[in-house]
Symmetry: C2
Subunit: 174 residues, 2 copies
DNA sequence: CGATTATAGATGCACTTGCATCTATAAGGA
DNA sequence: TCCTTATAGATGCAAGTGCATCTATAATCG
């Protein structure tokens, strides 16, 4: 998915007349966000695959588990920390369990819940992945940005992840 | 996929000893790039879905077609412009053709090739999507960044999309 | 020319994702 | 308590994706 944009267009949406047309600057930022993310992610995933390692999603789960005490979390906790959808995580855990990287255990305080526990193999895999992953990050980002630029970029991107306080709805004025 | 990172780790990869560990700044930038892109893309796709419109990939194709003279491109040209993989594009075109938004025609100069032509319905759809898409961009980015910030962000992201001249290989010094 | 190699695009298959739904357990309220 | 509602997690099915491969045509080179 690429995302170019026809900047010579118009708009009107979200109930009725509402937000203004995004500025050219904003549109350009969006397109480049998509492109850069896609390219860099693709490159990094390639590096992982080339090293016969599983995709990044696995790393996310392993990392979350490995960094908490006891190496165990409830699925919904992993969900929150990784932004993985519930049903996707459920099946990702299936695969990881089959691969021997995690184990599901009963959670006695709540019959609905489960523990997900990282195994020794899981910890080893987390470390193995990080070797390759770190190198890939350095190669595909670190070699292109100095620390000042990276900080600046992180700063700007952080703004985008914040919840907006301008939701899409008729303005509350009556 | 979320992408957190254990910053207290080490590395070594890409043939032999090579790139240094990415700096904390770089790692943070990467994590935020992933997060921001995922959140904003997800939000925008939600808006499209809520308006009963197809996903962004369709828009990319429609836009590329609608902006060239004659409204026709070869599949490989669309591929280049959108970063869609060949086999994915092939099947996306199947769906779009079935939906009456594009049509495939023979390309007489080269028996292997095909034309992809946008239909009137396709053009109408492109415009309809843009209505919603533009509003979504404004909502999820424009409301959070001023133009100066957007320009700055676009600038930094552009650097990431450039081909690196530090490929992963033993340095060429002998 | 004929054989090899390259390119455009399609397709079979396995895997992943999204969506809705389902089961089981827990919590809250009459 | 019983009944309703909410939450944790799993799962069936449809759709999308990656990967390898296939077909057809074109280009290149002996």
């Amino acid at each position: 998915m690429s995302v170019n944009i026809d900047v010579t267009a118009f708009m009107l949406n979200c109930s009725e007349a509402e937000a203004a047309q995004p500025s050219l600057s904003v549109i350009r930022a969006w397109v480049r966000l998509m492109r850069a993310q896609q390219l860099v992610l693709g490159a990094i995933e390639q590096d992982l695959k080339a090293a016969d390692l599983p995709p990044l999603g696995w790393y996310d789960v392993l990392l979350e588990l490995s960094r908490v005490e006891g190496g165990r979390l409830r699925p919904y906790e992993i969900e929150e920390r990784t932004l993985l959808a519930q049903h996707n995580l459920s099946r990702l855990l299936d695969r990881m369990e089959k691969a021997g990287l995690v184990q599901r255990e009963v959670f006695s305080e709540d019959g609905r819940g489960r523990w997900v526990v990282i195994t020794e193999n899981g910890r080893a895999m987390q470390a193995r992945i990080w070797n390759v992953y770190a190198a890939a990050i350095q190669r595909h980002l670190g070699n292109k940005l100095n620390n000042g630029q990276a900080d600046q970029l992180a700063e700007l991107l952080a703004v985008l992840s914040q919840k907006s306080y301008r939701p899409c709805q008729k303005s509350a004025d009556i």
